[in-house]
Symmetry: none
Subunit: 198 residues, 4 copies
DNA sequence: TATGAATGAGCCTTCATTCAT
DNA sequence: AATGAATGAAGGCTCATTCAT
């Protein structure tokens, strides 16, 4: 009956936020976000009750998008190196294609403007992927390898890989391969240290 | 800048900043910093012309401190794994001993309140360490391994290691070993991918 | 203004306003009013062009309701104490029965969000009652007693009486009697001071 | 050492607030207050941490001022009508001399922007005066007359008296006398209704 | 007519920085 | 040099009102 809430506007606000958070951190003002999104300052608050709510929604959205991409295509199915590399390639491709999203996601994950509960909720998006990852990892790093720890390291090496690709875009595939080799080699190192009681 | 009288006050301001940035990010107000440092609000600005100047000085100071620690003790001198592990141990020990410093350093490195020129300048502090690192790395990852890339990954794995140690303080030594194994294994993986022209 | 369709909605808006103004003052937002009334935000403005118009209409309505009540039942007709006490009892009964209306009326009478012209207009609602009051008063306080002055005092003592009854509901009748005694005694005092030329 | 906090500025802010609250209610903006006081917007908050704190301080200050005035001069000492009239005269004189203060005080007493705890605290300022009032009242209205109730009525009649004086300034003394006669007569009426158990 | 999204002025408050003392 | 009061530009958010549906 009334003017319907516009998905388009919501998206515009989110995209503006992605761009600004990537460039200037979560300290960007809602006024700048509104301006960049092409809406009135007040409109931001009809779509997100609070700046915190906006940032939280953005974190969940980005993690959801990434998680979906990891799982979209069928896995090779070897339950080992190839499955893992499949994930790795998806991760790198997404990050390289969406550098500002990646940067924003990274910032949101450590921002004090996003409540811990949201961060926890966001990790849940990766539960499904984590199962596959765990299976593949078990072969390379032993049954009791810690997935969370492996995940953080995978992320970190991906990070370094993005940087390298950003500096040398034409070496993209090589760098992607190399990054995985590092990760996979690291996981092998992990296996040699025996089990831990955490 | 002719250093104002009291070195003590300068240090107090820096320490207060470390604590507050670790806890609340670079958004902390200069007023809070002054209060925690036990000086008047205006005094902050006789030691640092600007909040940006304060944060920049802090970044350089922390990176200097860390760089010094890496080089303080004599190296084993094998120009390989042991030299590298020596660095690794220094890095982890410093981070575990000074968690707020580590956290603050991490935040400053990505803060939009610190100009890029400072960030570049800060990396220079590690030039000397990088030389040693390069030599050691050459053996494990090949002559043309990229130090910057390796450095970023080392940092990342260290980060994951801190988290793990923070959660399980009594496993500190085991986790330190494991972290290094991962790093070293990763570097081995690096070598297998052939040379890159970057 | 051609009254919009639903008298029911108009009433709902007014009632919602009564409740909210009593609780939170004339600063309450039109959005809250709409919500409490169960209508859309915009609907408030099809019934009342302006928030000011809404509050003004409410003031007039409440004063009208109270004035009607004062006159509804037949007076004892002694043109003295009994007529006056009849009014007093109506007034107190209405206030005790409708505490939020009373509270809202009180607030509207001094709100800067209601124009003076409306306040004046509202007083006109009591003209008829004032005639009776004047006659009754003449006996107790002299021919030239000032009705406006007496009215204000009556109101004030009623106010104090409401408070007392709110604190001690079971003493209602006694307090009502006592309040009138105070008022009537005061009017006697008034007569002793001789006439005034106002 | 630093620029000392200026009592003058604090007073300017308070006076500006008195004027604006009298004219427009407690909804007045801190920006307007600052402007009228001739200070920067931020300065308001170096003297009062919060708008609520400002209004609260103002309420306590005004009640304190009024309470002091009631007690300043020596009482006639008859412990009856004359003592009471002494209070009455002080009250009326203050209100007539400071109409905006009176108006502001009235508004603050019912504002939802002042916490109840402050209101309670404010009433305490009148404790000393209340003792005298109670004694005088006992003679006219009986031993068990309720002081709070009497106080409210006194206030209310004073209110009506101010209005009348504002309309007819040259009748000031006569109206003051008349107002007291009404109050005193009302208290006599009170005595006739017998005791209440509240 | 009813709806509620859209608007932008305005609100209270915080903050980096300046400056009188 | 040290202090902290003074400043005014933002900042996040609310609100009365308008307008597309």
């Amino acid at each position: 009956m009334a003017r319907p809430a516009s998905e388009e506007k919501r998206t515009a606000i989110m995209n503006a936020t992605i761009g600004l958070v990537a460039a200037a951190g979560t300290g960007t003002s809602t006024a700048k976000i509104a301006k960049k999104a092409g809406v009135a300052e007040g409109t931001v608050f009809t779509y997100f009750s609070t700046k915190e709510a906006l940032l939280s929604a953005l974190l969940l959205e980005l993690e959801g998008e990434l998680a979906d991409i990891l799982l979209k295509d069928p896995l090779p199915g070897d339950e080992g190196r190839e499955d893992m590399q499949h994930f790795w390639n998806r991760l790198i491709d997404w990050g390289v294609t969406n550098p500002t999203k990646w940067r924003t996601l990274k910032r949101l994950k450590i921002s004090s403007q996003v409540p811990d509960s949201i961060r926890t909720q966001g990790e849940r998006r990766f539960d499904e992927a984590a199962v596959v990852l765990a299976r593949a990892l078990a072969r390379q790093a032993g049954e009791d390898a810690n997935i969370r720890y492996a995940g953080i390291i995978m992320n970190a090496i991906a990070e370094a890989t993005f940087d390298a690709i950003a500096d040398n875009p034409n070496q993209r595939e090589t760098l992607k391969l190399r990054g995985f080799a590092v990760f996979w080699g690291g996981m092998a190192g992990l296996s040699q240290e025996g089990s831990l009681t955490l």
